[in-house]
């Protein structure tokens, strides 16, 4: 496999013209280049999977194709003709139908309306309900969907709603059907049913764009793959010619990092752990699970231990973190802290037990944009003390000043608004907030995403020194090098299941990649796999 952006798989047999051809597409948002001269094409009668990690540009590309975003530069051709869409309605009229991850239908209306609305049959100036139900019933029958068209949409399961969305898309007589994460809320049988529908659509010549985090499903259904990474095209491949491990590598990439000096230091620490005492267990989760989020997993985190969670986006890594951090309530399983069983219902309770969860969603669930650096830093501590015992202003200033210095937060002053800081410094402010409550377990979900290399290195060093001082850390990152560099132990998740739990004694990126892609494949790792 080559790692250049020019990789391109051959056209299908008979050389039909692509039904969609996007050339040299670039889209920028303030501060981010979301797509950087990406090429993408789709052939009739083919299922084409768009692959990439978070922030790779998948959804931006889809939104560019469906007219939700306007394109800065580049050309979109539909059946050979250049087009520019100014909205989803135009794209739909041109034969591009999209079924979004969150079913974008109207639960308060009937199934028939959801299939037909916008093209409803009319009689005497009004909607002909009888004809509408009949037509909807015919379409649903074509999908082997036996539901009453007159029933309310939200009286049906999500899977059925998803199929109704597809029924709508079919009735528009789409040439191109975009399925964005259609399987994320479906169970095995429902997925099989969906795939049956996809195959029959494919036979009728529809070009299907399929996005899913589940590699098994991607390999089962798709003919062609396009991989994006950081807004750039990695390549286009035929599915049966690309090994899973190569796909995962293409998606994750290898960062030529300037962080190697740190690596050796951590590994020496691991040497101690391996030879010396096993750390005392601080948090032990047994078979914790949440429906639709994560299958039962066991995870233990020792005092002063850094446990890395590795897996692709959607593998369940964030879901596990949220269960342990008290953000989501588990449906089953048991959490023990210091050997005592505990039920965490809210992050507030978790904080009382000195467990802090720092979200991957820095902007929405982390920093408070409109507050100052100081306010952001003291927020959790103040909340923990209770609002009737305000932290004296002098103490706040001391805290802020000490963390700004200790974490090397680059800000004009403690009074600067957090929104004006760079991503890396915002992340450090967030870290300072949690460090201020002196947690015993710090859960860091993608703390280094979208920040520059320098800040990344500083955060990694910080995690390392925190662990040395006895703090436990659950560390999640999409970058495997980072996980390998920092963790004493690595738990590998795949398709919402734990597939491996290994001590980090010189595991290579390749081994980890293999686990992420195929589960426990190599015999020597089998021993580490928890049942």
């Amino acid at each position: 496999m080559t790692d250049t952006a020019s990789t391109r798989a051959p056209a299908p047999q008979g050389n039909p013209d692509p039904v969609v051809e996007m050339t040299d597409i670039s889209i920028s948002f303030p501060g981010v280049k979301a797509l950087d001269s990406v090429d993408f094409r789709m052939f009739p009668g083919e299922v084409h999977s768009l692959m990439g990690e978070n922030g790779a540009g998948k959804s931006t590309l889809i939104k560019a194709l469906t007219g939700v975003y306007s394109i800065d530069s580049g050309v979109v051709r539909l059946g050979g003709l250049q087009v520019t869409f100014s909205g989803p309605a135009q794209a739909q009229a041109a034969g591009i139908s999209t079924v979004y991850q969150e079913v974008n239908l109207l639960g308060n209306l009937t199934v028939a309306e959801n299939v037909m609305l916008g093209r409803e049959p009319r009689r005497r100036g009004g909607i002909d309900w009888k004809a509408m139900r009949q037509r909807a019933a015919e379409i649903l029958e074509g999908l082997h969907l036996d539901i009453d068209p007159a029933s309310l949409l939200n009286s049906h399961s999500l899977a059925i709603q998803q199929l109704v969305a597809i029924a709508r898309a079919i009735d528009i007589q789409a040439k191109i059907l975009i399925l964005d994460e259609p399987t994320s809320s479906l169970d095995v049988e429902e997925v099989a049913e969906l795939f049956r529908v996809i195959r029959s659509l494919k036979e009728s010549g529809v070009a299907i764009l399929f996005v899913s985090h589940f590699l098994d499903q991607v390999y089962e259904i798709s003919d062609r793959l396009t991989v994006l990474r950081n807004g750039q095209l990695v390549g286009e491949y035929m599915t049966d010619e690309l090994l899973r491990i190569d796909l995962v590598q293409a998606m994750i990439g290898k960062e030529l990092s300037a962080l190697d000096d740190l690596g050796s230091r951590v590994h020496s620490a691991e040497g101690e752990t391996a030879t010396g005492s096993v750390p005392e267990t601080f948090v032990a989760a047994k078979a914790i699970t949440r429906k639709g989020a994560i299958s039962p997993v066991d995870i233990t985190i020792g005092a002063g231990e850094v446990v890395g969670l590795a897996g692709l986006l959607g593998s369940g890594r964030t879901e596990v973190a949220r269960l342990i951090g008290g953000v989501d309530r588990p449906d089953g399983g048991q959490l023990k802290v210091d050997g005592r069983p505990l039920r965490l219902r809210t992050p507030r309770q978790a904080i009382k037990h000195r467990i802090a969860y720092s979200s991957e969603n820095r902007r929405a669930e982390g920093i408070v944009d409109e507050l100052t650096v100081r306010d952001n830093i003291v927020l959790a501590l103040q909340a923990d003390r209770g609002w009737f015992r305000p932290i004296p202003r002098k103490r706040q200033d001391e805290l802020a000043a000490s963390y700004i210095e200790a974490l090397n937060i680059k800000t004009p002053s403690a009074d600067a608004l957090v929104r004006n800081l760079s991503g890396g410094n915002q992340q450090k402010v967030l870290l300072a907030r949690w460090l201020a409550i002196a947690p015993r377990l710090l859960i860091l979900d993608e703390p280094t995403r979208g920040i520059d290399v320098g800040a990344k290195a500083e955060i990694q060093k910080l995690v390392y020194s925190l662990a040395e001082n006895g703090m436990s850390v659950l560390f999640i990152s999409a970058e495997l090098e980072e996980v390998l560099r920092l963790s004493n132990r690595i738990v590998v998740l795949r398709d919402r299941k734990k597939v491996a739990d290994l001590v980090n004694d010189g595991i290579g990126v390749d081994q980890l990649l293999a686990l992420i892609a195929e589960g426990a494949a190599e015999p020597e790792l089998e021993a580490g796999v928890a049942s």
Partner: protein, 338 residues
């Protein structure tokens, strides 16, 4: 939304299960409960008071509340989209005072009525644009319109003006006999016509279905290619028009124009819509339910007047209690479903 599969409900179609299903559906449940409540109240009234169980008592509900039915129609459109219109009471007052003032000046009643409907529709359009273009909260935008309308009333006239125009007087006094010594006023016919048009629009036009769609999920409706922006503005125009029409009916009913009239009527209209089974968050409800809601409110008043000794403030207390019950009912029904 949880991923729990509820599955198709209508597989085992035995009658009991279907009745339970209809009563617990967020779509039809609350309105059926209101219907049952209405019948119960009527029956209780009939047992307790002599002369209660008569056709004319029932028809008087329409006669006394014709304007409120029209107000509730407009309010239903707005609430179905998830919005609210606080301006309708003030717009009713404005309409009565414009009518009184212009009739006093010798304008022809036909022109006056058309002018009122045009002015109030334009005010609704203004509110709708404010909400859609500038993304102002409906609560705030209609609050502003409420103050504006109420203020305009005082600019036109501070004192109450009596209407002595022959057409208006005849509309107030004419009774249309229905036989068996029963009769209604022309206002009732106007209100029922408006109701019929509203039922048709909501059920049989794309505009009507888009109104529901906005209440369900504006984003989804937009992605499905429905004309959500236009519809969102238009519902406030409809509410404005209905307020104007209600104002005219109110002028027929009271034969006066007064700046301080119909204070708090917007809340009566909202209460009627909610009791009639429309979800305050939008997306579910029927305009017929709202009319039923108005009748329930009217019935409470009638019962209290038959009781005689109770203060009329008890009406408010009963309405308050009913509202509370219905909002909780809605909450229970919707949370069960989603």
């Amino acid at each position: 939304m949880s991923a729990v599969a509820t599955g198709p409900v209508a597989t085992g179609r035995n009658l009991g299960a279907r009745i339970v299903d209809v009563f617990t559906s967020p779509k039809s449940g609350p309105v059926l409960v209101t219907g049952v409540l209405f019948l119960l109240m009527f029956a209780v009234g009939g047992v307790r008071y002599r002369g209660f169980l008569s056709g004319q008592v029932f028809l008087n509900l329409f006669i006394d509340n014709a304007y409120l039915i029209v107000l509730a129609i407009g309010m239903t459109f707005v609430i179905l989209t998830g919005g609210i219109d606080l301006s309708v009471g003030a717009v009713v007052a404005l309409s009565t005072i414009i009518a009184a003032r212009l009739l006093q000046a010798g304008w022809s009643p036909g022109v006056v009525i058309l002018l009122i409907l045009a002015i109030t529709s334009a005010l609704g359009l203004l509110v709708g644009l404010m909400i859609h273009v500038f993304e102002v909260q409906p609560f705030i935008a209609t609050l502003a319109a409420m103050f504006l309308a109420r203020g305009l009333c005082y600019i036109i006239a501070k004192e109450s003006i009596t209407i002595d125009n022959p057409f208006f007087v005849s509309m107030a006094n004419v009774r249309i006999p229905l036989g068996y010594r029963l009769s209604i006023t022309p206002s009732v016919i106007i209100a029922l016509l408006a109701l019929a048009v509203a039922v048709w629009v909501l059920q049989y036009t794309r505009f009507g279905r888009t109104t529901y769609a906005i209440g369900g999920s504006e984003q989804s409706g937009m992605l499905m290619g429905l004309p959500t922006s236009r519809t969102k503005v238009l519902v406030y125009v409809i509410s404005g028009f209905c307020s104007g029409l209600a104002g005219v009916l109110y002028a027929f009913y009271t034969l006066s124009g007064y700046a301080l009239t119909a204070v708090g009527t917007e809340l009566d209209a909202i209460a009627a819509v909610v009791i009639g089974g429309t979800l305050l968050t939008g997306g579910y409800g029927f305009v017929l339910g709202s009319a039923l809601g108005v009748l329930v409110l009217g019935l409470i008043q009638t019962i209290l007047s038959f009781e005689g000794s109770l203060s009329s403030w008890w009406t408010k207390i009963f309405i308050g209690a009913l509202l509370l019950v219905f909002i909780i009912l809605q909450k229970v029904l919707t949370s069960r479903r989603t």
